[in-house]
């Protein structure tokens, strides 16, 4: 499966993400000759343990996430980041979790936007919005390089593309920049051959980063 970097928008300190930035980013992709293809959507769900009163919360994971990806319409992914666990399962795993009633799906985030073709690259630009709200919580971008499926072998070309992209975007003087976090896939038991499980881990890492950023911004305001 082709290698993919998932990038997220890091707003400058004291600024927040807004839809104008999203518009500028999309225009920038088209400006470097990205051809708009169609829509895409991924979802991420936070699961919380259902505990009896005397339970010790610390015993149960607080970072248990469920992820659905558009390129795998029949699959569902679980990530427990703190324990470096990722699971690929059928969609019915969601029904099983509902029946078990030990964990409940709480907040869900949608990642949605447009997909672009740019030579051997496939780009996706998307807004991050809560499931039942319109407020923009973030901007996410996927950069997929179709010819290579080895994470190690793809590094140079992905870095080069990232540099070109950052340079193109910098001309628009936006209050922030895209960041790429590189998780340690090996710690999750994955090889360097790219799979959707790698993508699920990148999404989980980005959401953790977004939460951390929002929490630190909150504490600064307080």
């Amino acid at each position: 499966m082709p290698v993919k970097w998932v990038l997220h928008w890091q707003p400058n300190a004291g600024t927040t993400v807004n839809s104008q930035i999203l518009t500028e980013v999309s225009q920038c992709v088209e400006g470097i000759n990205g051809v708009k293809e169609g829509r895409w959507k991924a979802t991420l769900t936070f699961y919380r343990p259902m505990l009896r009163e005397q339970a010790n919360m610390a015993e149960f994971p607080r970072d248990f996430l469920g992820i659905s990806l558009p390129e795998q319409p029949n699959k569902y992914y679980f990530v427990i980041r703190g324990q470096r666990l990722v699971l690929e399962a059928d969609l019915t795993i969601q029904t099983i979790m509902e029946r078990l009633q030990s964990y409940k799906a709480r907040v869900a985030l949608n990642f949605e936007g447009f997909q672009y073709q740019l030579g051997d690259f496939q780009l996706r630009v998307g807004k991050v919005v809560p499931n039942h709200a319109e407020s923009l919580r973030g901007i996410l971008m996927e950069v997929e390089y179709l010819p290579i499926s080895s994470w190690d072998k793809s590094h140079q070309i992905m870095e080069e593309f990232f540099d070109i992209w950052q340079e193109a975007l910098s001309k628009r003087s936006l209050p922030g920049h895209f960041v790429h976090i590189e998780p340690s896939f090996g710690e999750f038991g994955l090889s360097e051959q790219y799979t959707s499980q790698h993508t699920a881990i990148q999404y989980a890492s980005i959401v953790a980063q977004m939460i951390a950023t929002a929490q630190s911004a909150q504490s600064v305001r307080n």
Binding site: P49, M50, L51, R52, Q54, A55, N56, E59, F60, P61, F64, F78, I80, Q83, L85, V86, L87, E88, A89, D90, L91, T92, I93, T95, I96, R99, L100, Q101, S102, Y103, G189, Q197
Partner: protein, 237 residues
């Protein structure tokens, strides 16, 4: 046709306590019946049998997790080139007067394939291993009014945690025969009828019943089995 290779061996068994002799004879009978059953099923189902070697782990929620306790089964198919995992949740059985009229158990079941660290994930979520089993035998999957699966297997327990190479039968000489078919709330009466109809063909060898209800041994089973074995299944029962 018995389980002993030569007369000398049989004689040495006779010197052992009668209980042991009886046990071995009983095992032989079951072994003959299993082979006969396989021949019968081969003829009935029209498909090849599949070998079955499934490591089944039953996990229960730890204390304090969930407002009610929950149970989930992880099945690892050891017959595949790479162990293939399935998560299975079995729900409550259909109850009431209608359920009692039906000759089969109807219950909800949801399955999902899963990647190989599914056990670690459930442990991380707070589930504990309650017990584990190894089922060894064979299965037939076929279409006969419904998508029916019949499995014939011995249920084995592991003497050490996850040691599937060192499993021993829970009830030596006794095999479990299960017939299952998926159904929806719209079609389950047709599926029940298809299963019952199929099970009638097995009547010469065994009677199947709802789980938990004992039916005993078919009196003519030995003769039927011998007949099946002697001409390789050409006999019409």
């Amino acid at each position: 046709m018995g389980c002993f290779s030569n007369v000398k061996e049989w004689k040495s068994f006779r010197l052992v306590k009668s209980r042991a002799e009886l046990k071995s004879t009983f095992s032989a009978k079951i072994q003959i019946h299993v082979e006969a059953l396989e021949i019968l099923l081969q003829g009935l189902c029209g498909v090849h049998r599949e070998r079955l070697r499934i490591h089944e782990m039953c996990l229960k929620s730890g204390p304090n997790l969930g407002l009610v306790a929950s149970e989930v089964r992880l099945l690892c198919d050891l017959e595949q080139p790479e162990p293939a995992w399935t998560v299975k949740h079995v729900g409550g059985a259909m109850r009431g007067a209608g359920a009692e009229q039906i000759s089969v158990l109807v219950r909800t079941m949801v399955e999902s394939k899963a990647s190989k660290n599914v056990l670690r994930v459930f442990y991380a979520l707070g589930y504990k291993l309650d017990h584990e089993l190894l089922r060894v035998g064979f299965a037939f999957h076929f279409q006969r009014g419904a998508q029916i699966t019949i499995t014939v297997s011995s249920v084995n327990k592991m003497l050490k945690l996850h040691a599937t190479d060192e499993a021993v039968p829970v009830t030596p000489g006794i095999q479990l025969v299960e017939v299952t078919a998926p159904a929806s709330s719209e079609n389950y009466t047709e599926v029940v009828a298809a299963m019952s109809s199929f099970c009638e063909y097995l009547a010469p060898l065994l009677h199947l019943s709802k789980p938990g209800v004992s039916t005993g041994v078919v009196p003519t089973a030995a003769a039927a089995a011998a007949s099946l074995m002697s001409d390789g299944g050409g006999t019409t029962l």
